[in-house]
């Protein structure tokens, strides 16, 4: 396992009367892609900004390791608030909204931001050339940035964050407002960047995208980290509930639901949702076999001809929804 590069220890962040982050504990491993998943307003952006020291937490602290992340595993951690200049060389931050000068060309933007990192002219040139190539922006390098399309603007944004070759790239909702094709391309780019050794922290509310991209995922809900783990770990931990989807003819689902509910209850089968979604009847349960037996019986008694029957394992999205629903219920 790689050494941690960031350590978030008991961090609480308050804005006015809003406690945005509550006792956050999190580690970011060197070389990984860490996804932070949460609904809008859950505190993802605040967490990312607190991580790099923009916001000073009211409680707890964020630590980071100065030495190159891969080389040294024993290097000491420093609070981000005290070592801002050093830290700023270490990370690149692509916020949710585009963050570049619209009146400058692509190349001028890259040159400008590269210059602010005290890079040598030649290094700047080399970095920009390779970045333009890598990000697919070469042919647009002299285009004024305000004329870039959404996807290109996002690529430029990421390029601006990478121009000083940071060890950590922080992306806040990088695929927001992009069409599926562009989203796919951006995620592919992120993967490529990570493959070059850059640690990536990515915040998003779209779990499906992160499921295949991230090494680890942290669920953030109402300012709290609910759980952290690899997608596989999370699925294994929370995926004992399955969904049975049945499509039948003539599909008198309303009367079927009443009967099915009473049969399941009388036979002691635990279930959570029995509903109609389009042309399908959906049943969620942890006792798939027993439930399926009752379903088939009821359908047969109603003279329904089963056209399709599926048993689905929950996605991370489902797990997240499930987890947050549980939390809300507790509250």
């Amino acid at each position: 396992m790689a050494a941690p590069i960031f350590k978030v220890v008991n961090v609480t962040k308050v804005f006015g009367k809003n406690i945005v982050l509550k006792n956050i504990n999190l580690e970011v491993q060197a070389g990984e892609i860490l996804g932070i998943i949460g609904a809008s307003g859950s505190g993802k952006t605040t967490l990312l900004r607190t991580l790099v020291g923009f916001y000073k937490p009211e409680n707890g602290e964020v630590l980071f390791r100065i030495k190159p992340v891969i080389e040294s595993k024993t290097a000491s951690f420093q609070p981000v608030s005290k070592m801002q200049t050093v830290l700023k060389h270490l990370y690149g931050f692509a916020p949710q909204e585009h963050s570049f000068y619209e009146k400058l060309t692509v190349k001028e933007n890259l040159e400008y931001f590269a210059s602010l990192y005290n890079l040598e002219k030649q290094e700047i040139k080399a970095n920009i050339d390779s970045l333009l190539e890598f990000m697919g922006l070469k042919q647009f390098k002299n285009m004024v940035s305000e004329k870039l399309s959404g996807g290109m603007a996002r690529r430029l944004d990421i390029a601006c964050s990478l121009v000083h070759e940071p060890a950590v790239l922080i992306l806040d909702e990088p695929t927001a407002d992009l069409d599926p094709l562009l989203r796919k391309h951006i995620l592919w780019l992120v993967k490529k960047i990570n493959e070059q050794g850059t640690t990536i922290i990515i915040a998003s509310h779209n779990l499906k995208e992160l499921e295949t991209l991230c090494h680890r995922i942290a669920f953030l809900h109402n300012g709290r980290i609910i759980t952290v783990g690899t997608p596989q770990e999370l699925k294994a931990r929370f995926s004992n509930k399955k969904t049975i989807r049945v499509e039948s003819h003539p599909g008198r689902y309303e009367s079927l639901i009443q009967e099915l509910k009473s049969k399941l209850e009388s036979s002691g089968v635990k279930f959570e949702v029995v509903s109609v979604e389009g042309t399908e009847l959906v049943i969620e349960t942890r006792q798939v076999d027993a439930c399926l037996k009752q379903v088939l019986k009821v359908f047969e008694s109603f003279g329904e001809t089963i056209i399709d029957l599926k048993i689905e394992h929950p996605s991370l999205d489902d797990i997240f929804v499930e987890l947050t629903r549980d939390l809300n219920k507790k509250v």
Binding site: F15, G16, I19, F54, E58, F93, F113
Partner: protein, 665 residues
Amino acid sequence: MKVYTIFKKNLKVIARSKTSAFAVVFGPLLVVLLISLAFNKPSVYELNVGLTVVNKDSQSAEALNLSTRLKQDLESNSYSVLEFDTSQECVNAIKQGIIHTCIVFPENFSTLQGNRNLDFFVDYSRTNLVWAVIEVVGKNIDLQASQLSMQYASELLNTLQSIKSVAENQSLEIVSLKTKISNVKQKLEQQASKLSSIDLNTVSIDLESVKQDLEDLLSEANSMKSSIISKADSILNNGNASAAHSTAQSIKSVVNDYVEGLESDVNSVKQDIDDASETVNGLNEKLSNAKISVQEVVTELNNVKQSLSNAYNELSSIQTSLEAIIDKVNNLRVKSAETISNPITTTIKTVVSENSQLLFMAPYLVMLLVMFVGLLLSGTIIVMEKQSKAFFRNFTTPTREDVFLFSNYLTSLFLLLLQIIVIIGVGYYFLDGNLLNNWQESLVLILLASSLFILLGMALGYLFPTQEGVTIGSLSLGSLFLLISNLVLPLETISGSMKTIANYNPYVIASELFRKLLFFDIEFQSIAKQLGVLLVYSIIILFLLLIAHKFSLSWYLYRLAYKPSKKKFELNTKQGVITNSEELLNFVNNQSQQEFKKFATEHAYELQVLCKESLKNKKLARAFKKLDKAMVVKVLKASINKRESNDAKKEKEKTRKAKGKEKEG
């Protein structure tokens, strides 16, 4: 390097942002250009003047002539003159803004007799124009009045001159008259003397003695006769008597005859003497009368002489007066009508060599440019940067904030200096005036003033969140500086305290310094104090800028993350949601000491927010901080009791008021 990078970027962004470039670079230049053109007119003001001659047909030729002359004079000075039939029409035209002032010649206008008052209507609500109108039109009316005054003075002087010449002639005549009087007096004196010397005393001829003598003569003749007769008798008696007798007889007869004749003669003489005496008496009476008359004539002559003396004296006095008048007329200090009508003539001589109004305005205009461009440009650059999408990314770079500040300052300074160079270059070309006098000192001043206003604009840029805010703020501040400066109102006309404030107005200091530097040869030492004041201002504003910058960044980050919510904070626990003191007390009471401590530690910030924001109870927040359950319970109970008591009081008050209303009803 970083400064140059940011500087270059700023210029590119401004240049490529058309509206900003126009607003920032060309806007102020345009404003100054317009102001320059406005101030560079041959006549300071272009005014429309209304002229009304009431009842024109019945006006005197003088009034018509005067109104025509006034109109011509105004028109020759490029003011347009509109004529109105009535004063009301004229005044209405002012109200409608068609004209700026109205001059009304009243009915029976005459400078000599009748109404000689011209009505001069102005609109005082147009404070910026009214004085100019009064000055301009008043000057023309004064000119007419001055011409009339000269005419009258001339007439007056001519009259005086004619009086003088008359007096001189009269004086000469008086002299001759006096001589004549003297002669008359002399003659009178002589005549009086002559008259006085006439002896008109009564003649007292002693005719009685003559008569007595005649009586005596007669008596003697009688005695002689008696003797002769006696002797003749004796002769007769004595012999020869006959001859003797005859002789004696003849003698006697002759003597008798003689005596008789003598007696007759004597009687006749006596009669004559009596007549003569009577005549003499008559003569004496006449003489007495003549004497009285002579005396009366002498007296009259003396009176005439006295009168002549008096007349002489009076003439002398008149002569003296006339001489005095002549002397006074001669000694009149003012002998020209122009001097009387304009006792003081002024020749405006400039202490500077040039006479273009625009040149004199140049220091104020250049500083106006420095002020407005400094404020607007720097503020706009800051807001553009703040509103730029890249503002956030700049935070993520290892660049100190002072580098950004300095770069923005440099950008503003560069653009401002560029504009000043353009303005001074244009001014140098068009004004034929040396705008580069004392150029080293001027450069120091311009740099200092530019820095001051740029720093101020930057501070405004950081304080205001939007471009509109900065523009309004900058314009307001600039206008305030402008309002209490020489450009709008002469400082000398402002009241004391405002004048003091105005003297510390950076725009006033800078523009006055620049004026002195442009038009006079001034040593650096003599302006060092004012430059020092500007420097102190700049340093103070720099501190303000740093504070505003810090405040702005904190606010930016705060706004970036936090959108204020009106909803009261609620504490979520496993047991439920806590929203008020009662629920919190219930929750705490249900916890053991250990559970309480654990909960209070884990939810420290949430509890603080709940206590301070929702329950507004700082004491409770402190109790939670101390992890003291007993104290928390105590404070909570006290708070609840207090609130209940307050509620009860309010309820009571409510009831009392309701009852009161019922009673009133």
